[in-house]
């Protein structure tokens, strides 16, 4: 792999490298989706793959998400490892039936005889000024479906490492790519090697003692910034990056909350019925006697994702996170 020596600078490049390395290593890996070939994807994440591996390995499909994922199921049945791009979060909805009725349960219904090693790449979330249907955070829908893994990187290194793991996984993985971070540079672990990261483990991105911010994907930079700002107020915040929503790393999350006694879950997705409710419930069930305050959620409002000119009011920012942290202190009587 001649390209292996060049360390990717942005998340988009890391994802592309992950696919290239996987394709070079394993001839059964096939990338497919609308515009992934000649154009290299609307975000250029698949740039160069069709040229390097041919159109049979990186295929521009007809514009039909159910068809893209549905044919990927058949390809997986015949021993291939499809990596499917859904282009934008809300564009994946036509493929939901394939995902829920077939991809997620094929292993189960066939008693393990027919695994579905499919990676469904879904660029998700807001903050890029996209018009309607280009900024949804759909992770709760995927989380509610048994049989799927739901993974979302927040750093350049994880983008590489987790996508490699997703492609190598014998189970279907919904790989949520925070499109707001596509062009972000590696900033938390600049020295880390581009290694395969096991799916299902959260990491502590910042150690602290006052409270735990539990977050993932596009909200990680917000939480890191909030933690720095909070330090000025004398609050020493710990930040946990989940990286994988399914399976959920109860161990890392609960160990952190037991240390700090306070927790805020931060994500862009809606609060009601959103991932934060599940996470808060899990933490409460497991850490109740260690909690000094209720687990709070900082989430997007319970509205359809707003038009781009108003999205800054919807997206949880540093101030909203700090407000929640302040409420934790107040609830605790300090």
């Amino acid at each position: 792999m001649t390209t292996a020596a060049v360390k990717p600078a942005t998340m988009a490049q890391a994802l592309q490298r992950a696919m290239r390395d996987a394709m070079a290593q394993d001839p059964t890996v096939h990338v497919m989706g609308e515009d992934v070939g000649t154009l290299g994807g609307v975000f250029r994440v698949t740039d160069g793959l069709a040229k390097e591996f041919g159109e049979d390995r990186c295929t521009d499909t007809p514009l039909a998400e159910a068809g893209i994922l549905g044919t990927a199921v058949g390809m997986a049945m015949y021993g291939l490892r499809p990596v499917v791009e859904m282009q934008f979060d809300a564009f994946a909805y036509p493929a939901f039936e394939q995902l829920i009725s077939h991809v997620s349960r094929m292993r189960n219904r066939t008693k393990g005889a027919m695994p579905m090693p499919i990676t469904v790449r879904v660029p998700y979330g807001g903050g890029i000024g996209g018009v309607e249907h280009h900024s949804d955070s759909s992770e709760a829908y995927y989380m509610a479906t048994p049989g799927l893994h739901v993974v979302t990187p927040a750093t350049v290194d994880d983008a590489y490492g987790l996508l490699r793991a997703a492609i190598a996984s014998d189970d279907p993985v919904v790989f949520l790519e925070p499109k707001r971070l596509y062009w972000s540079k590696s900033q938390w672990s600049p020295e880390a090697p581009t290694a395969v990261e096991p799916i299902g483990r959260a990491v502590v991105r910042r150690q602290g003692r006052s409270a735990t911010l539990i977050t993932y994907g596009p909200s990680l930079p917000v939480c890191m910034e909030a933690a720095e700002a909070a330090a000025a107020e004398g609050w020493d915040l710990e930040v946990v990056d989940l990286r994988s929503l399914v399976p959920f790393d109860d161990e890392t999350v609960c160990a952190s909350v037991r240390r700090t006694g306070r927790a805020v879950v931060v994500h862009e997705s809606t609060g009601f019925g959103g991932p934060g409710g599940e996470i808060a419930a899990r933490v409460t069930e497991r850490c109740f006697h260690h909690l000094e305050a209720p687990v709070l959620r900082v989430a997007g409002f319970d509205i359809p994702y707003p038009p781009p000119m108003l999205e800054r009011h919807h997206l949880p920012g540093v101030d909203r996170v700090l407000d929640a942290v302040a409420r934790l202190q107040w609830e605790a009587g300090s």
């Binding site: 159910a66 058949g74 349960r105 292993r107 695994p115 399976p247």
Partner: protein
């Protein structure tokens, strides 16, 4: 009124685009106006006696299977059974047109095709009995799980056929769907993908007249379901679905064409669902006896039997031998279905993921404890 005639319109003369030409001449893709028939026509004389006898044995066996499975629902041994009585010819032709290396993608009504292809009659009913969703290993006979959602298995067939061709295998996928399923988006997407990729797939629509209670006239405004093929750029074939000889010929041609790299075909088999949608349905609410009787007269077994008898290929002894063999199959099915399936509750947590998540391990432990407590209470 042209643009120039509109008051205040500015004359606009763009550079004319290149003349549009159709990519494919649609004429060769069009189905014949009448369903293709062999039995009862001059063409019947040219059919292979051995093949006809094989088809006959499978039709009789299939009918007996339908009758037995329906009886099992009445005894509470099956949660539900969608009978294909009256459709045996298209079910059997589908299975017999394939080589062993090919794949079958059945819908929930196509247990007969799966059984005719070699699937254990009991295993074919696992889903409908309710002890496991599919249960059988699809690789064993190259039969995809019976699909309950409509038409969603069609893109799977396309993907599998495409993958096989990429690997250099001359494998064909046969995808089965009902008339109602042709209204689904997945039907459209599958046909479109198959045609664009020139995938070795055969789509078989069994038009049995009704989608539960909704007749074809309320399902589509197309001249026939086979006509839909033209819009995708593949040939459409209309065939009498109760004519086993015609079905086998048309299916085999399409399979052969796909195998040689000729691309997909859409076949509409015009047939009729003699029984209700399932045992849970009341067909008298949406159709009259006269209609059903007319189709009974066009029964696939009778059509083939007449041909075989006229040609002296089937005497009473041969007929009885086929019937006896079907009876043995039914008796075996009855006996094995009367045995309670052995269920393992802990299997609920197996096969969800390659490796159990910690969440599932916790839940498995909870169920284990409940089962242990139940055991102690007994």
């Amino acid at each position: 009124m042209t643009v120039q005639e509109l008051p205040g319109a500015v004359a606009y003369r763009p550079t004319p685009p290149p003349a549009w030409k159709p990519r494919t001449d649609p004429a060769p893709l069009l189905p014949d106006p009448e369903p293709y028939r062999v039995l009862g026509t001059d063409a019947a004389a040219g059919t292979d006696p051995e093949l006809l006898l094989k088809l006959y044995a499978q039709l009789v066996r299939g009918r007996r299977y339908n009758v037995q499975a329906t009886a099992l629902t009445k005894q509470g041994r099956l949660a539900v059974y969608p009978s294909s009585t009256g459709q045996e010819a298209s079910e059997v032709a589908a299975a017999l047109a394939l080589e062993e290396r090919d794949w079958l993608f059945p819908s929930y009504r196509d247990t007969l095709a799966a059984v005719a292809r070699g699937l254990d009659p009991v295993q074919a009913l696992t889903l409908l009995r309710g002890d496991w969703h599919t249960g059988y290993d699809p690789h064993e006979h190259r039969i995809a799980p019976l699909s309950t959602p409509l038409a969603t298995q069609l893109p799977h067939a396309v993907g599998l056929a495409h993958a096989a061709r990429l690997k250099g295998d001359d494998v064909v996928a046969l995808a089965m769907v009902g008339d109602g399923g042709t209204s689904e988006g997945d039907f459209h997407e599958a046909l479109n993908f198959a045609a664009v990729w020139q995938a070795p797939v055969v789509f078989l629509v069994q038009n049995n007249g009704f989608a539960i209670s909704v007749p074809l006239a309320k399902q589509t405004a197309a001249p026939s379901l086979a006509h839909k093929a033209v819009g995708y750029g593949m040939p459409g074939r209309l065939v009498d679905g109760n004519d086993a000889a015609a079905m086998h010929e048309v299916l085999s041609d399409a399979v052969d064409r796909a195998r040689r790299g000729g691309g997909p075909t859409l076949i509409e088999a015009v047939t009729y669902r003699i029984e209700a949608h399932t045992n849970a349905d009341d067909a008298t609410r949406y159709r009259g006896d006269a209609e059903v009787e007319a189709w009974r007269a066009h029964d696939p077994i009778r059509l083939l039997e007449r041909e075989l008898t006229e040609r002296g290929l089937l005497d009473d002894e041969a007929r009885e031998s086929v019937a006896a063999s079907a009876e043995t199959m039914a008796a075996d099915l009855r006996e094995r279905m009367n045995a309670e399936p052995v269920l393992q509750p802990m299997d609920l947590f197996e096969h969800v993921y390659a490796e159990q998540t910690s969440q599932l391990r916790e839940q498995a432990a909870q169920l284990r404890a409940e089962l242990d407590a139940e055991g102690e209470a007994r």
